[in-house]
Symmetry: C2
Subunit: 184 residues, 2 copies
């Protein structure tokens, strides 16, 4: 059964990890324990229900067991890989500010998307960030003088944060370009 409605982000994170390499629920939990993937809790109460949803959606299946291991490992199905790809290519919408979903996507894109797709993802992201940065800077130049100290500094924090995200996005673009050229 291929579900039509959008899964929550955590489920896509699991799908992305499993797509890289088949894994059991426990192994996935461990990954969330050590890496700050999206900032989700590594508690079983988060992982297992999400995993179940992905399973019910038909996006993962039991691994072809050559090497029997303790703990059922899961691998992606074809519909699963299609759903993952569809999620990965779609640009992050809304005010970005919180880059965490964008970074999650970016992480899993490497093996799944073409260079062109990844490039355009970053381009769209860059444009969005630049635009948001603009609007914050406009507020700063117009109203900074009549703002309280702490308000002004909060605004500054937002600006610096966006600037750093933008710097990253541009760096990422040059890096993936370089890597792409090298491969040819």
């Amino acid at each position: 059964m291929v579900s039509s409605k959008r899964l929550p982000t955590l489920s896509y994170a699991l799908l992305g990890l499993i797509n890289r390499q088949p894994a059991s629920g426990y192994e996935l939990m461990q990954i969330f324990k050590v890496t700050p993937l999206g900032g989700y809790s590594s508690s079983p109460g988060a992982i297992y229900p999400a995993l179940k949803k992905v399973r019910i959606a038909g996006f993962i299946e039991p691994e072809d067991q050559e090497v029997p291991s303790r703990g059922q490992r899961w691998q992606t199905t074809l519909p699963g890989r299609e759903a993952l790809t569809a999620w990965l290519v779609k640009p992050v919408e809304g005010d970005v500010m919180d880059l965490s979903e964008a970074m999650l996507k970016f992480t899993f894109q490497e093996e799944v998307l073409s260079f062109d797709e990844r490039y355009s993802f970053l381009k769209v992201l860059t444009a969005r960030l630049a635009q948001q940065l603009d609007s914050l800077q406009a507020i700063e130049t117009r109203h900074a003088d009549q703002m309280r100290l702490h308000d002004r500094l909060s605004l500054k924090a937002g600006i610096m944060d966006l600037q750093s995200s933008l710097d990253w996005a541009r760096l990422a673009i040059t890096e993936i370009k370089a890597a792409h050229k090298e491969k040819i």
Copy 2:
């Protein structure tokens, strides 16, 4: 009735805003619509229930009505101001990464906390950020060479983000210091 258990962040945001200036639910909603305070939705389904909680906790009361306005305005009570202060002084715990709660606190601290309290808040924040940055950089120097391109860049994003937050925190410290000296 003074509630003992911790309110959700949104409620504190409302309390902080009302403490600055008495406001009605609708006015608060408008504020959330234009300013990205903590990134909460400005929907009535978020604001009004949260406001109700703050009211039930005994932290706000109907404004002393000199100027009757349409829409009931709320002002903080003494317990409300105490609860707000207690929340504002407490350093943000856990992995910070998401600065939004810290920034929310910082914003409301100006009129409520002393210079020493605000200074120490920023000092603690700085220490935390520096420590997290260290651990990420350690990972980078140790494992960057054996990481996939996108993974390495994701890590880089985390590092750059923390670096920018740290830069901000240090800037904020010098700024509040300067403002404090000026006032003496």
